[in-house]
């Protein structure tokens, strides 16, 4: 395992093993500061921050697209966008928000937190982790480059065939959609394998599965969903690519292809995708609410098993996206029932969160407000979800704004509220300063009001018969008033995020002044919220090596139980001062995976293969060279950098165990 790579084994001859560096180019990079350190990093924390930053960048783009949509629809016969442009904008808004914002924000949390929560030094495959990030970034950039190269995708995020075929969508937009998402799919898939192995194999000694924090549990379920869902989308996209670029006939109806094949494949991916987006946010609020209620999570096993149940049932509901497709009454009835019952484990979660708050001492700091925001707003989305599990009603609601309202209550009111709460919660841990709580509250209330103004009226619009994906509407349909309200709400949401942006800058400036560090590194207390899980044991910001000493875990909420004990009558008493149980981050004797040039090189070649398939195969040749070169370098570079020497002044000399106890602990964890 690369995080614990020890010295090279001694040779039978007794000669010291020779460390080779085939050609200087394969030396591993050594910088840990400056931009080079970010480009070559394999540190899960840096990659987590990069996922988050890139996702915020795409959030600005996707949010801008949302504002264009809302301005266009503010009044009937809007003239801001042409039909053609509107179709590109709504397609890219959905695609961006799903694949380039909500999923990577989830990935940011999972990358950053999973190793910390399970007491590991990094993920199982650090270079693969970096490769995943660069695939996501380059895939997203390639997708968006379509704006500059003539025509963005215009098939909707669901990209139904045969409208996505060359005949009906002759520009390259759909090809960009296809190639870009194939590349981001690699990110999801490698990330899933990586994090599953990490969670299953690298937990601290004593941390059994049922002592894992709920966030890590939900992340694990999410990664299994990704592992099985992404290949389905990838397959469908390959079929579409063959149709569009090589004249195949999978979806061309004139040649006997079947558009319903695409619908099934897309939604077999597409519905688990909903849970891929929401489960990490469920995990986030399951961490936040107990901290601010000062009570343990109510019914931990129920929370875990309901998450697993959602993960399983999520595979049996895809055709509820197709109730109007003409799939026959038996299919409709079966999927109607399965969809109905997926509400049960979701409802359990809501009630367990409320029960966690019940009897607590609720402190309404920003993270808690956003978490309650998720609990309440997601409930609305869940209830409207039940109304379209009722299939005959869904035939009235589907493809209207009622659906738009529903899934924004799920993905914005659910996932995004949870994630924003998570930002406020873990910001100190990642960056060494806290966000201002008053500004956080202003952000929350503006976002809550703006969100409900924007998406609440869409329920009414949908029931009044306003269809989705229409670039305009006429006077006299009763759509005017609520569309205007919705547009105003969208601008309130925008203001709320400007408050967040200001908060980030202002809080950092203030912390710098208070600590007198100029542009240097900010630090703060390890445990600002009186937290429960292992990451709060670490200094803020987390040091590169995470744990000075890998903790031995004895209970759920291990860190909490190192601070507090329960008396016989169930009352809590403090048994140790926080300062005495947190780690100092001073251990320098830890061998970490070395940075690498090759993940970014390998990932950089992929979009060029995509461009090559669209424009000229010469690009593909260049991209191919890049990919092959990247793989070659990846394989050839030494797994242990002989010059890194965190702990070992003389390569090849007898090796003292790196942080002996920790390594032993990790071995114990592996045996576990």
């Amino acid at each position: 395992m690369s995080t614990t790579d020890a010295a090279l084994p001694a040779l039978p001859s007794g000669e010291p093993p020779r460390t080779t560096r085939p050609g200087g180019v394969f030396a591993r990079p050594q910088t840990d500061t400056g931009w080079r350190s970010w480009v070559t990093t394999v540190d899960h924390k840096k990659l987590g921050i990069m996922y988050g930053t890139a996702a915020l960048f795409f959030f600005v783009i996707g949010g801008g697209e949302a504002l264009l949509i809302r301005i266009q629809l503010a009044t009937p016969n809007g003239k801001l966008l042409s039909a053609d442009l509107y179709n590109q904008v709504f397609t890219m808004h959905g695609t961006t928000m799903i694949f380039l914002v909500v999923m990577p924000i989830g990935a940011a949390f999972m990358n950053y937190l999973i190793p910390l929560q399970i007491g590991a030094r990094d993920v199982a495959f650090p270079r693969l982790n970096a490769f995943g990030f660069w695939c996501f970034l380059f895939g997203g950039v390639m997708l968006n480059s379509s704006w500059l190269l003539g025509h963005a995708p215009d098939g909707g995020w669901f990209n139904y065939a045969p409208n996505s075929g060359v005949i009906f969508s002759p520009t390259h937009g759909i090809d960009f959609w296809n190639m870009g998402l194939l590349i981001t799919g690699i990110a999801s898939l490698t990330g899933a394998i990586n994090l599953i192995v990490t969670v299953l194999n690298m937990r601290a000694p004593g941390m059994t599965m049922m002592k894992m924090p709920v966030f890590t549990w939900m992340a694990l379920v999410t990664q299994f969903l990704l592992l099985f869902a992404i290949p389905v989308l990838t397959s469908a996209q390959f079929l579409l690519m063959f149709d569009r670029l090589f004249g195949a006939n999978f979806f061309k109806t004139a040649q006997g292809g079947d558009p319903l094949l695409w619908e099934h494949l897309f939604w077999i991916f597409g519905h688990p995708e909903v849970y891929i987006m929401i489960l990490p946010a469920f995990g986030v609020v399951s961490e936040i609410i107990p901290v601010f209620a000062r009570k343990p999570l109510f019914g931990y096993p129920f929370m875990v098993f309901s998450g697993i149940a959602i993960g399983f049932m999520g595979w049996g509901v895809w055709a509820h996206h197709m109730f109007a497709s003409g799939i026959g009454p038996i299919s409709v009835a079966a999927f109607s029932m399965s969809t109905m019952f997926i509400a049960v484990p979701t409802g359990v979660k809501i009630l367990n969160w409320l029960a966690t708050m019940w009897g607590g001492k609720l402190k309404f700091s920003s993270p808690m407000l956003f978490s309650i925001g998720l609990v309440t707003m997601f409930t609305i989305g869940g209830l409207s979800g039940v109304t379209h599990a009722v299939a005959p009603a869904d035939t009235q609601q589907t493809d209207t704004y009622y659906i738009v309202a529903h899934f924004h209550y799920v993905l914005f009111g659910g996932a995004l509220f949870g994630f924003v709460g998570g930002w406020y919660f873990w910001w100190p841990k990642a960056f060494g300063y806290a966000l201002n709580d008053t500004l956080g509250k202003v952000h929350f209330w503006l976002m809550l009001i703006g969100f409900n103004l924007t998406f609440g009226p869409m329920h009414i619009l949908g029931l009044q018969g306003m269809p989705r994906r229409t670039y305009t509407y006429k006077n006299g349909y009763g759509f005017n008033f609520w569309n205007m309200v919705s547009t105003i709400g969208a601008f309130v949401i925008t203001v709320s995020f400007l408050v967040l942006a200001y908060n980030i800058l202002a809080s950092r400036r203030k912390a710098r002044k208070a600590q007198g560090v100029g542009t240097g590194r900010l630090t703060m207390a390890a445990d600002p919220w009186d937290g429960r899980s292992l990451e709060w044991m670490l200094p803020s910001p987390t040091p590169a090596h995470n744990f000075d000493e890998v903790p031995v875990v004895r209970s759920l909420d291990e860190f909490w139980h190192r601070k507090y004990g329960e008396e016989e009558d169930g009352r809590l008493v403090r048994i140790a001062a926080t300062e005495d149980v947190v780690q100092k981050g001073t251990n320098t004797d830890v061998h970490l995976p070395s940075p690498s040039y090759w993940p970014i090189v390998l990932a950089f070649g992929l979009p060029f293969i995509g461009y090559g398939l669209i424009y000229s195969l010469w690009f593909a040749v260049l991209g191919g060279i890049c990919v092959v070169g990247g793989i070659y370098g990846w394989v050839m570079e030494p797994s242990v950098d002989p010059d890194a020497g965190h702990h070992d002044p003389e390569p090849g000399a007898t090796e003292p165990e790196p942080s002996g106890e920790a390594a032993a602990d990790e071995e114990a964890a592996l045996v576990d």
Binding site: A83, N87, Y160, P162, I167, F168, P170, D258, P259, P296, F298, G299, F302, A324, G326, G328, P329, V332, A333, S336, M340, V344, G347, V348, L351, N352, L354, A355, M357, G359, K361, L362, F364, V375, T376, T379, I380, T387, V390, A391, P392, A393, T395, Q396, T398, D399, T400, W445, I460, L463, G465, P467, R468, R469, Y471, T472, Y477, G478, F481, W482
Partner: protein, 399 residues
């Protein structure tokens, strides 16, 4: 503090509900006002579900508010005095797993029975109509003699049906996926190429019911509209008889000129049943070969003036606005063009002329060369004002 703020929001929520119900009055495409048995079956199923969902909504959000207010930390609290550390309650959790499951099972049972009710085979006396979606208009073909062939009437944009009789639609598509939806009559059904999906509708009374395509179908998805016109059984018979007649040759001078323009410019795509050659008025018009490829992909115009809309029901052909003319003409129903005076008064020349002048400028379309399978929509034929006048004179004879 928090409680106070939330309590102040409560009247706002009430106001929202009031406004919502108040604004729903003029919503011709609403799903909440069924005008036929199928739509009513759906409403009867969903309305109680809305009620249950509303009760749960109030309970959960009310519960959350209650908990947030009652258990908030107070400023004078001793930070280290912890609340009771409850880790869970198995019975309670089993309870709130089972109770929702039972509620959902009841809703599910009602749902399943409704699904099968709505997918019953059409009754014996049903009128069979084939609905074909294409970019970006709907074609309707009627099977009046019930022989399984939809060959008696070919029309577009307006679906004319007899009131109180079941209509059995067979829905399909010629190009991409569309979805046919008239919310007052039934839920939507996708029009999938190579698939034929059944849907029954029935209108309680005479009247006009609007809808639109609800599956994203490309450029002009927003302008692919639907209009169902329910008429009395007698009127329907009269309408159906007329629809089966071929067009007669025009006699008036301007219309004859328009006939020539039509034969020269429009017949690459459009058909008029019984069209004669303007240069040899007794001979059938010989359509250019290309029409065999394009036939059916554009609306058949034989009885254009019996329709109330044109261009995928995007524009009114019959004035129907709130003016005096509009109200008068709307009241004439499908008979608005029967009398010459009414036709003159009610024909929406403004939109029709603008359309003929520049169709892709009036409705987003992607017309290519007429032969190309990628051509979608009507091209700009660069007609002169004179030609347009003649053409409208000719089209006015197609009743």
């Amino acid at each position: 503090m928090l409680g106070g703020r939330l309590r102040r929001l409560a009247p706002l929520a009430g106001a929202v509900v009031l406004l919502a119900s108040g604004c729903a009055k003029k919503a011709p495409q609403t799903t909440l006002s069924p005008k036929g048995p199928e739509a009513r079956t759906i409403a009867n199923l969903i309305n109680p579900v809305f009620l249950v969902a509303g009760v749960v909504f109030v309970l959960v959000l009310g519960g959350a508010l209650f908990v947030a207010i009652k258990f908030r930390a107070r400023d004078d609290d001793d930070f280290d005095a912890f609340p009771a550390q409850v880790h869970g309650n198995f019975k309670l959790e089993i309870g709130w797993t089972i109770v929702p499951a039972i509620i959902l099972a009841v809703i599910g049972a009602l749902t399943v029975s409704t699904i099968f009710t709505l997918s019953k085979k059409p009754v014996a006396g049903a009128l069979h109509v084939q609905v074909t979606g294409q970019q970006w208009w709907w074609e309707y073909r009627y099977d009046l003699n019930n022989d399984g062939k939809f060959d008696e009437i070919v029309t577009a944009n307006d679906l004319v049906i007899p009131e109180g009789r079941q209509i059995a639609l067979t829905i399909t598509s010629r190009d991409v996926i569309h979805s046919w939806w008239a919310p007052a009559l039934n839920g939507k059904k996708d029009a999938v190429p190579n698939h034929r999906s059944p849907l029954t509708i029935q209108a309680d009374h005479t009247g006009e019911f609007i809808g639109q395509c609800t599956e994203y179908c490309g450029l002009s998805h927003a302008q692919m509209r639907i209009k169902v016109i329910s008429v009395s059984a007698d009127e329907f018979t009269k309408w159906a008889d007329n629809q089966q007649k071929p067009a007669a040759n025009p006699t008036e001078q301007a219309a004859v000129e328009g006939w020539k323009v039509f034969a020269g410019q429009c017949t690459s795509c459009h058909r008029v049943n019984g069209l004669k050659d303007p240069s040899a008025p007794t001979k059938d018009f010989a359509y250019p070969n290309v029409v065999n490829q394009r036939a059916g992909v554009v609306p058949n115009l034989t009885h254009l003036m019996s329709r109330t809309t044109f261009a995928g029901a995007t524009f009114d052909l019959r004035k129907s606005d709130d003016s005096a003319d509009g109200r008068y003409c709307k009241a004439l129903g499908i008979h608005w063009a029967d009398k010459p005076a009414d036709l003159t008064r009610c024909l929406n020349r403004v939109d029709l002329e603008a359309w003929l002048l520049d169709p892709p400028g009036r409705k987003p379309m992607a017309p290519g060369p007429a032969m190309s399978p990628a051509s979608r929509g009507m091209p700009n034929l660069h007609l002169t004002g004179q030609q347009i006048d003649y053409l409208i004179a000719y089209l006015s004879t197609l009743k």
